[in-house]
């Protein structure tokens, strides 16, 4: 005896689609979502079906439901692999993952994302790279490339922070490998110069002179003004680690005052273009 | 829509009113122990001469004078009993929940022998004096030496995944042991060496779920002269020739209870709650009483010209053998009557699940 929920009145496919269109214009995301959903259910193979699904992805994204947007995009890619603007679906999937975990905390307070786990943003890297490999000349490629670079430079800088810690900790193999990891996995990112510096320093401490010289040579050729190089292009002793000297003040106060550890590598200001937040995506 | 579950159409049928045309008199009534256990046991009394023997699930064996209900003797077995009691060939046979057959003497119940088998025993063992036949839930039929309980042979019929609770009691004669199995097969064995005399498939499993494919032979077969009457669940009721096992007649029927035979009338209560009567020689359906649907009827029993059957609420209904019309009804035990009622023809012995044994006599007033 449950009251039968009344069937939505069957407006024709076209009316439903145009209603949703106008709602999108007036950024009424929720109502647009409902109309597009009923359109998809009742006319799954109609003429507007594919376009409606693309609109639905966008509506979900704008109404702050990244998961739903990703799911809809995924289904679209599976159903219409050859559709002419399937690249939009890839792009939106990347974008939704990119913004997914920006809690209030990150937005309000300036937090240095390079020191933390970028969270789900890591997935968006995979989505964007799929977009770039499959549709290099898609209209969204440029923005996707810019975001990828931003993300990859985040991850690269993260590696350098870890290397700095391991130098402090005295785990020199770990530190050197972190530098090498950046070199091999994040080419053309602003962290490359610091990665080379890390390798130079690491190999020197480990006593692998040949590798140290090689890295130093590459660093000198490409980034001559890197602080780890002194005027004559040799290794700047100020950065040398190992069991350096401790000031007597530091020694008697159990190392509580005048800590004398060499500074870590962080040349973001010098090599990293002042990266501002990439702009909101325009409508498809 | 009502809160307490609306009528789904498969509740047990209401009892129909009728005026009794037969007087049912209680001859005597006596408590004989704790009755049936919680393992859905069917501990059935057994008549031998003037004595009626009973056993309860706690192990209390009673021997009563069946004319007046006086206790002759009783004996406490320290074990929980899952099957019993049979009283042929001078000895009493019961079985424990741990799969052990115990033989007692009919005078005083002293223990003759006991034999541990591997499998749960839910039907009273039977004997022809030489060999004791025992069926177990894991699809085996054992033959033990009646003198000392030693195992002679056993045959195994692996049971299907889902079966009905309980097994039929085998029939042990001098030249054959007849046993029905939960896979729908009826077999006859040579009592001495266990070789198979003949084998009949009574019912074929059909359907997809384990439930639809159940075709257990649960009813105790009845042997009279040359004919063996058997019935299976979701299968057939049939008369077969005892020598060859070939089918004389067969009708579609589904019952999990024992049959009753009186003269040329064969009575059975179906799983759906119908009481039916067949012509024993031709198998033609005489009548069906459909006023007790879904009341989970137990095994029918003939008495005088009537047939008695009990239901899940513990009512015993008497119907006329020829018409199937109700003639009388008595309430015996609200927990029900799992044990088949015993009779010598004119007195009906009913053992309620809570352990009260009552003797009724029926007279047309």
């Amino acid at each position: 005896c449950s009251s039968a929920n009344k069937e939505p009145k069957y407006t024709s496919e076209a009316d439903l689609y145009h209603a949703a269109e106008s709602q999108l214009q007036r950024s009424q995301w929720e109502t647009a979502v409902r109309n597009l959903q009923s359109l998809e259910e009742n006319f799954p193979f109609g003429t507007y079906a594919e376009q409606a699904q693309l609109e639905l992805i966008y509506a979900y994204f704008m109404s702050g439901q990244p998961d739903a947007a990703i799911a809809t995009a995924n289904r679209f890619i599976r159903l219409h692999p050859q559709h002419r603007n399937v690249d939009y679906a890839y792009y939106m999937m990347g974008l939704s993952a990119y913004d997914k975990d920006k809690g209030m905390f990150e937005r309000v307070l300036p937090t240095d994302l390079t020191m933390r786990d970028p969270g789900p943003a890591r997935e968006s890297l995979a989505n964007f790279s799929q977009l770039l490999t499959r549709y290099p000349d898609s209209p969204y490629a440029t923005d996707a490339r810019k975001r990828m670079l931003y993300l990859r430079s985040l991850l690269a800088r993260y590696e350098i922070h870890v290397a700095n810690y391991y130098f402090k900790r005295g785990a020199y193999v770990a530190a050197t490998n972190r530098g090498r990891y950046v070199l091999e996995n994040y080419p053309q990112t602003p962290a490359i110069p610091d990665a080379l510096a890390v390798m130079v320093q690491g190999y020197r401490i480990l006593g692998l002179q040949e590798s140290a010289d090689q890295s130093l040579a590459i660093l000198r050729d490409n980034y001559p003004s890197h602080p780890v190089l002194n005027s004559s292009g040799e290794f700047n002793e100020r950065y040398s680690y190992g069991d350096g000297k401790r000031s007597w003040v530091n020694r008697i106060t159990f190392g509580l005052f005048e800590k004398s550890e060499p500074p870590g590598f962080d040349t973001r200001e010098q090599y990293d273009p002042v990266y501002q937040r990439p702009p909101r995506p325009g409508r498809s | 829509c009502s809160i307490f579950g609306k009528k789904t159409g498969n509740e047990p049928m209401e009892l129909v009113k009728f005026d009794e045309t037969v007087k049912v008199k209680k001859v005597w009534s006596r408590g004989v122990g704790a009755g049936q256990g919680d393992g859905f046991t069917r501990l059935t009394p057994s008549i031998n001469g003037d004595v009626i023997y009973t056993v309860d699930h706690k192990g209390l064996v009673n021997a009563l004078d069946r004319t007046n209900g006086k206790k002759l003797w009783d004996k406490k077995l320290r074990a929980s009993i899952s099957a019993g009691i049979s009283s042929d060939e001078g000895m009493l046979l019961v079985a424990t929940a741990n799969g052990e057959v115990i033989a007692l003497s009919q005078e005083g119940g002293s223990e003759l022998w006991r034999k541990q088998l591997n499998g749960e025993i839910l039907a009273a063992p039977a004997t022809n004096g030489e060999v004791v036949g025992v069926q177990t839930m894991n699809g085996r039929i054992y033959a033990l030496n009646a003198k000392d309980g030693e195992e002679l042979w056993f045959y195994e019929n692996p049971p299907p995944v889902l079966t009905l609770r309980g097994t039929p009691a085998p029939i042990v004669t001098s030249n054959a042991i007849y046993a029905g199995f939960s896979n729908g097969r009826l077999m006859a064995f040579n009592p001495d060496n266990g070789s198979i005399l003949w084998e009949q498939r009574l019912a074929l499993p059909q359907g997809r779920s384990e439930l639809d494919r159940m075709v257990d032979i649960r009813a105790n077969p009845i042997l009279r002269d040359g004919t063996l009457y058997v019935a299976s669940y979701q299968g057939k009721v049939s008369a077969v020739a005892r020598g060859t096992g070939s089918s004389i007649w067969a009708q579609d029927a589904s019952t999990s209870e024992n049959l009753a035979l009186a003269g040329n009338n064969l009575f059975l209560s179906t799983a759906g709650g119908k009481l039916a009567s067949y012509d024993a020689t031709t198998g033609e359906l005489r009548w069906e009483n459909e006023q007790l649907l879904r009341r989970v009827l137990n095994s029918p029993q003939t008495i005088d010209g009537y047939v008695a059957v009990s239901d899940y609420k513990g009512f015993v209904h008497f119907v006329d053998q020829s018409t199937g019309e109700f003639v009388a009804r008595r309430k015996v035990d609200k927990k029900g009557v799992y044990a088949q009622m015993q009779t010598d023809g004119d007195v009906l012995y009913v053992l309620g699940n809570r352990g009260k044994l009552t003797a009724f006599s029926v007279s047309a007033d």
Binding site: D112, Y158 | E257
Partner: protein, 860 residues
């Protein structure tokens, strides 16, 4: 027309819902093919196979191939009726898996599929009696509506489980192991009497391992039967077993390369010759050895105990095959989920070095250290092999951040201090940097305080911590149930500490403090002399006063000057209080040292391990105060059962003065009672009480020659004087106390009944208790909740009690008060909330119990 022809174009008619794409992809014909009649037949068959089409006919229009297609109807809606136990969504989901859902094409097989899928759902729930009726209603535009009517029937419940053939253990013992149970009164909640094949398989495995663990090597489950009562409402399970004999261990061998010396391995083996064989002991020994090898860096080690049976003498020879595998090295340590806490805060807790030899113990130890930080609700770790290498692993930690009270505005209510308002930021993971920073402003009737604390636990990479704190606090102890004084204190402190082992730390602090004590109206003898000494006041002694009174009342006059009055001296006003001796303001330099050891498993609401802390604080000589204080707190968790844990805790304190200070300043006393101490008693009210206040009211006793006529008439009353007691037996006004040589004064007794109960504290604290932690039923996420049944005991003593201080004893264990009750702590978004109800078991007559205590938004 010739039999075959070349296809110039393909035209499709009659498509409504199916996309042309799927038709073309199913059609084996392409434009330009040469077709024969046979090709057309096979094409039609192909299209039918797609399953979407009711009818397909392929014709020719010249060289154009024409496909006329009539689509099958699509399911517009599925309507479920009569399902109560299983909700419609889950039924629709199971239908969807057999792609029977709205929008799908309705095929003949669909009907059969629906009944089967639903039946399987119900049989899976043990409802053998369920039945399904379906009817299909046509709708416009080639759609159909599927109406399903379900009768669920009753659920079959397990009535009895019978194990046949067991001699060594009785049925009850064995069925107790089973997860499936016969219907009991609790079954309607747990549903453990519902039959499921997997559960039965699991139960039989448990039964087998029970026997194998006790030496029955030949144990076998021969067969099991599941049977149904005729009315399909009861299920019976029978397991036929054969136990076999008990096997004894004949000898224990090691085989393969143990990689670490045999002695260590042998010590880990729990299986001994002559002992009954036990599978669990064998597998546990293998696990210990595997872990031990893991600690040595052999992360890929495999150890297996193989029993070889000797059936004649029922013995078994056990050989442990050890394959250490390659020594593994850690390639990278990755952290996921730390979106707030920075990487270094996690990495510095690592005991496993990246780029070094992998050790399971160190990885496990690192996980425990992360949990101890208290920043994460949950920490998971797994070691993953690095593809392409045979001996390298990555260690991946996944953490789940938990709010560690960043910006908290706590409005709380604690009985003793009334409304507690505290705004501030106390955060021990400041912006995820792992630094502990706190600006705290708190105000309540008891205390107003401003407090800034800063501490960097990893000032150096090895964990040397450095921090400081500045504070101002004015507290009126009256509202903390401590007798009459308030203090204003401000100061600063430098703190640092460092680990002396992985679980022990030593710390020092040094600081300046300036303290001012203000007694209020019901201060006590110990604090300040009472009655208050008024300089220059005059007194008359008792009998002289009586004599004068008597004579004046009978009209006799006296010559002026004949009554001499003395001026009071201090010692007539009772013992000097602390403040009288040492003044009211104190500036001192405080130094402290602490030693702490903790193996607790979690930062907040721990339930495993133990922690203890011994601290020694001294007010350095040269300051206004000279006292020292020992304070020892310890707690220990001992798991009782899988869900119950016993917590033992204690706190011992001793303080005393030294040098030229001969009694401990009263504001440094220990107190006991209430939360964090002996629950069930009013806060801080246990132990010594103040000796009651005295007030001396001057008497209208002296007569002066007011009118200067040389004679003192009886009406010439002069100034008020004090009465000096020298004859205690003489009649005195009510409540007055006469100590010889002291001014007669009145004691105000109601101090003990007022708010503070006259509590004063003492210099020795003994306190402890035992609690049983139990999980609340029905609540899933217990990580933020702790419920306990506790017994608390303790009291405060004083080694030099004031003469008339009631309830003040030197250390005497028989005076310990005790209470027992239930406590609940919940870490909510606002911070910890604590409730407790308790009953005293043993208390002194002056101790006041308090049945219900609670505190919101404030750690106790």
């Amino acid at each position: 027309q010739s039999d075959s022809f070349r296809v110039s174009d393909i035209r499709v008619e009659g498509l409504q819902r199916v996309s042309a794409g799927s038709v073309f992809s199913a059609l084996p014909i392409r434009v330009g093919d040469v077709l024969t009649q046979a090709d057309i037949q096979s094409a039609t068959r192909e299209l039918f196979k797609v399953g979407y089409f009711a009818d397909v006919s392929i014709g020719r229009d010249g060289d154009v191939l024409v496909l006329v297609i009539k689509e099958r109807p699509a399911i517009n809606a599925i309507e479920l009726k009569g399902n109560k136990v299983i909700k419609s969504e889950s039924l629709l989901d199971s239908l969807k898996q057999n792609d029977l859902a709205e929008g799908q094409i309705f095929q003949r097989a669909t009907l059969e599929g629906i009944t089967q899928a639903l039946q399987r759902e119900y049989i899976g729930q043990g409802r053998y009696g369920a039945s399904v009726k379906i009817d299909v209603e046509d709708l416009p535009r080639n759609q159909v509506k599927v109406k399903i009517d379900i009768t669920e029937g009753t659920v079959a419940r397990i009535k009895k489980i019978n194990v046949v053939g067991n001699q060594a253990f009785n049925d009850a013992e064995l069925t107790d192991l089973f997860e499936l149970k016969s219907s009991g009164w609790l079954s309607w909640i747990s549903g453990n009497d519902k039959y499921s094949r997997e559960k039965l398989k699991g139960d039989l495995e448990r039964l087998e391992s029970w026997y194998l663990d006790r030496g029955y090597l030949n144990f076998k489950v021969n067969s099991t039967q599941v049977s149904l009562s005729p009315d399909k409402s009861q299920i019976f399970i029978t397991a036929n077993v054969s136990e076999g004999e008990i096997y004894k261990v004949s000898e224990v061998e090691l085989a393969g390369d143990p990689a670490i010396d045999e002695e260590i391995v042998r010590r880990l083996i729990m299986v001994r010759p002559e002992q009954n064989f036990s599978q669990i002991l064998m597998t546990t020994s293998s696990e210990y050895i595997t872990q031990r090898l893991g600690n040595e860096g052999y992360t890929f080690a495999k150890v297996e105990g193989i029993p070889e049976r000797n059936d004649e003498d029922k013995t078994v020879k056990i050989t442990f095959f050890i394959d250490p595998g390659k020594r593994a090295y850690v390639n990278r340590i990755n952290f996921r989920g730390n979106t707030k806490t920075i990487d270094e805060v996690l990495r510095r807790e690592m005991r496993q070095m990246e780029g070094g030899s992998a050790s399971t113990a160190q990885i496990e130890h690192s996980k425990v250290r992360l949990e101890r930080l208290g920043f994460f609700k949950d920490v998971k770790v797994d070691t993953v092999e690095v593809p392409g290498t045979t001996d390298q692993v990555d260690v991946d930690f996944t953490v789940e951040e938990q709010p560690s009270g960043s910006m908290n505005l706590q409005i709380g209510y604690a009985q003793y201090s009334g409304m507690l308002f505290s705004a501030g930021i106390t955060q021990n993971n400041w912006f995820g940097t792992g630094k502990q920073v706190g600006f705290n402003l708190s105000h309540s009737r008891f205390q107003t305080g401003y407090n800034f604390t800063y501490n960097d636990p990893y000032f150096t990479v090895d964990g040397v911590s450095r921090g400081f704190n500045l504070y101002y606090q004015s507290s009126d102890y009256y509202y903390a149930n401590i007798s009459g004084y308030s203090t204003d204190v401000y100061g600063g402190k430098m703190t640092f500490g460092y680990p002396i082992s992985d679980i022990e730390r030593i710390g020092f602090d040094i600081g300046l403090r300036s303290l001012e004590v203000k007694p209020n109206q019901n201060a006590s003898q110990e604090i300040q002399r009472s009655p208050a000494f008024i300089d220059g006041a005059r007194y008359i002694d008792q009998d002289q006063f009586a004599y004068i009174n008597e004579s004046l009342n009978s009209g006799i006059d006296f010559p002026a000057g004949s009554i001499e009055l003395g001026t009071v001296t201090e010692d007539m006003f009772g013992e000097p209080g602390f403040l009288d001796v040492y003044g009211k303001t104190f500036n001192d330099v405080q130094a402290g040292i602490y030693w702490a050891k903790s193996t607790l498993n979690r930062g907040i609401l721990a339930n495993r391990g133990a922690s203890q802390r011994l601290s020694f604080e001294v007010s350095l000589p040269g300051g206004d105060l000279e006292y020292y204080k020992f304070d020892y707190t310890a707690q220990m968790f001992q798991p009782l059962t899988r869900s119950l844990t016993l917590r033992l805790h204690t706190r011992l304190g001793y303080a005393d003065a030294y040098g030229d200070m001969d009694e401990l300043p009263f504001f440094e006393n220990f107190y006991a009672g209430g939360f964090g101490s002996v629950r069930g008693f009013e806060r801080n009210t246990l132990g010594p009480r103040i000796s009651p206040l005295r007030s001396a009211s001057p008497v209208q006793a002296s007569w002066d020659d007011v009118n200067g006529d040389g004679i003192v008439q009886s009406n010439e009353r002069g100034t008020q004087v004090f009465l000096l007691c020298n004859d205690p037996s003489a009649p005195l006004p009510a409540g007055a106390i006469c100590d010889p040589g002291q001014i007669v004064a009145v004691e105000n007794q109601q101090v003990y009944t007022g708010r503070t109960r006259g509590a004063f504290g003492g210099n020795v604290l003994i306190q402890g208790g035992a609690e049983v932690l139990f999980p609340l039923p029905f609540i899933k996420d217990q990580r933020m909740l702790q419920t306990t049944f506790f017994v608390d005991a303790g009291n405060v003593f004083d080694t030099n009690c004031g003469a008339r201080q009631p309830n003040c004893y030197d250390v005497d264990l028989s005076k310990i008060v005790m209470s027992s009750g239930f406590g609940l702590t919940w870490i909510s978004g606002f911070g910890p909330m604590t409730f407790s109800i308790s009953r005293p078991i043993r208390k002194g007559d002056l101790d006041r119990d308090e049945f219900f205590q609670f505190s919101l938004g404030q750690t106790f």
